[in-house]
């Protein structure tokens, strides 16, 4: 029997109960939110389960939501079950003061650089990562440049009225 979003959702709910929240299916991709302390367990389960077999990590990235108090940083995983052709998106939120997420490098070697990239740009601390250094930016950099508090253009400029350019 082919795997469907419905089955994946049921299996996950069976295993983790109501710890997984925010179930959605935007544009056909099953999406849910997991607590940061459970991320490795959930991914391990998805990887090892004989029925689910989500063994390909397509993408791992971060998002910054400065307005959400206590859950400013988000880490997004895109998993893929190549046998059944099902994709799954998992998100986890952490506070910006203590952005600790467990590393999944032991499960997926591919996660190594993707986690380094997420650390480099968002400052997410991947606990258990073998070599958490900056990757694309210079080592001396002190900021995490993809965070929203760093605007792309110099905010002190007065010669350019953003309202006129629809940027407001």
């Amino acid at each position: 029997m082919a795997l469907t979003n419905e089955i994946v959702k049921n299996r996950l709910t069976e295993q983790f109960g109501d710890q997984l929240t925010g179930w959605e299916e935007p544009y056909g991709m099953l999406t849910c939110t997991m607590p940061a302390r459970l991320n490795r367990q959930v991914l391990q389960f998805l990887h090892d389960d004989e029925q689910l077999r989500f063994r390909f990590l397509t993408d791992l990235t971060g998002v910054h939501f400065p307005d959400r108090k206590g859950e400013e940083l988000s880490v997004v995983y895109h998993l893929h079950n190549m046998m059944d052709g099902i994709r799954l998106r998992l998100k986890t939120y952490v506070p910006i003061e203590k952005p600790d997420v467990f590393s999944v490098t032991e499960l997926y070697s591919a996660a190594n650089w993707m986690e380094r990239e997420t650390y480099d740009f968002f400052g997410v601390n991947f606990v258990g990562h073998p070599d958490l250094r900056r990757i694309l930016n210079v080592d001396e950099m002190e900021h995490f440049p993809m965070r929203k508090e760093f605007p792309l253009e110099d905010p002190t400029r007065t010669d350019k009225d953003d309202e006129m350019f629809g940027r407001g």
Partner: protein, 413 residues
Amino acid sequence: MSEYNQNIQLSDESLAKQTTTLNLGPTHPATHGIFENILEIDGEKVMSAKQTVGYIHRAFEKIAERRPYYQVTPLTDRLNYCSAPINNMGWHMTIEKLLGLKLPKRVDYMRVLIMELSRISDHLICNSVVAVDTGALTGFTYVFQWRELIYEIYEEICGSRLTTNIGRVGGFERNFSDVAWQKIDKFIEGFPKVMKEFEDLLTRNRIFMDRCIGAGPISAERALNYGFTGPNLRAAGVDYDVRVASPYSSYEDFDFKIPTGTTGDVYDRYLVRNMEIWESLSIVKQAVEKIRQIEKEDPAQKEVFYAPESDKYHLPPKQDVYTKMEALIYHFKIVMGEIEVPQGEVYHSVEGGNGEVGYYLISDGGRCAYRLHFRRPCFIYYQAFPEIIKDGLLSDAIIALSSLNVIAGELDA
């Protein structure tokens, strides 16, 4: 001896060391791009490699958060610049997915045609570079005038060659000209002969085979774990192709094979790319036939080059801007980035030259993306490089790098 003691002051541990440290890169003629690898070699055997990436990081993801959707297309050009049209169209398809636009079949087939041509040019570069690194410069000279013809086709369609910025949301900026069609026909007719010649030169060439077979192998299991996609994964024996697994742009209407290898070494990667060139050529032929069939059944279709319902997002033709009110309004709104997009979160992927090129877009309904992440296949599979070249010869490391087809622009974003 005294001069040696005075002038060359190596530390004791360095003198005691039995291996040699070799800086391969950041700029090295054999690496075809900015790649820094610090190799530890024992004689000619590679013991370990330390990679440094990011030399040409241009902060595309940050820039994309400030630019309207149209201005992101030129950024995607500069990811994998060997097959820029695939990246452009992948990005346009992501927006179309967000907007829920459905394209007419003719436009889909035109896109497929261009994407497959760029796949051919991408693979041609990779395979000729593998040939160059094994010592055969001739391969380059055979196929490059046909890659040039592909660039001329782009030029006929969008006006530029390498970084194409081709297409628009909803289709193309203008219809293919007669010259473009003539050039496509010329390509279909003339290219197979040259491709055959290129294969005759290399595929069963004893020297080439001896150099490539067994160099830089990776198993299917490791390749999957490392997030390989595209020809490099298929060379390891996994028949995963985004065009088949999750078809986009009407790929389901086409009949083609997914070539796979077994050992994932340089030779298999070369063979898989060569076979894909033939498959792509067959898709190009099918696309031309399908477009002509559509035009024969309904001559009005000849003028369809974008989805009619996408007129709010598709820059109107210039003569309409000067003569029609709506066209002028849309033109202004699009240029100023005032197009309306829904809120949402979308992941779309296409089969690029090197694998799955993914776009993860979060839209908050504003004029720019709230967050745009590019899944860049090179970035993900290049981390396997030390494992691939370990215990091989130094010269194998060079051809392993070129056969992986790591593009610095895509690697560093």
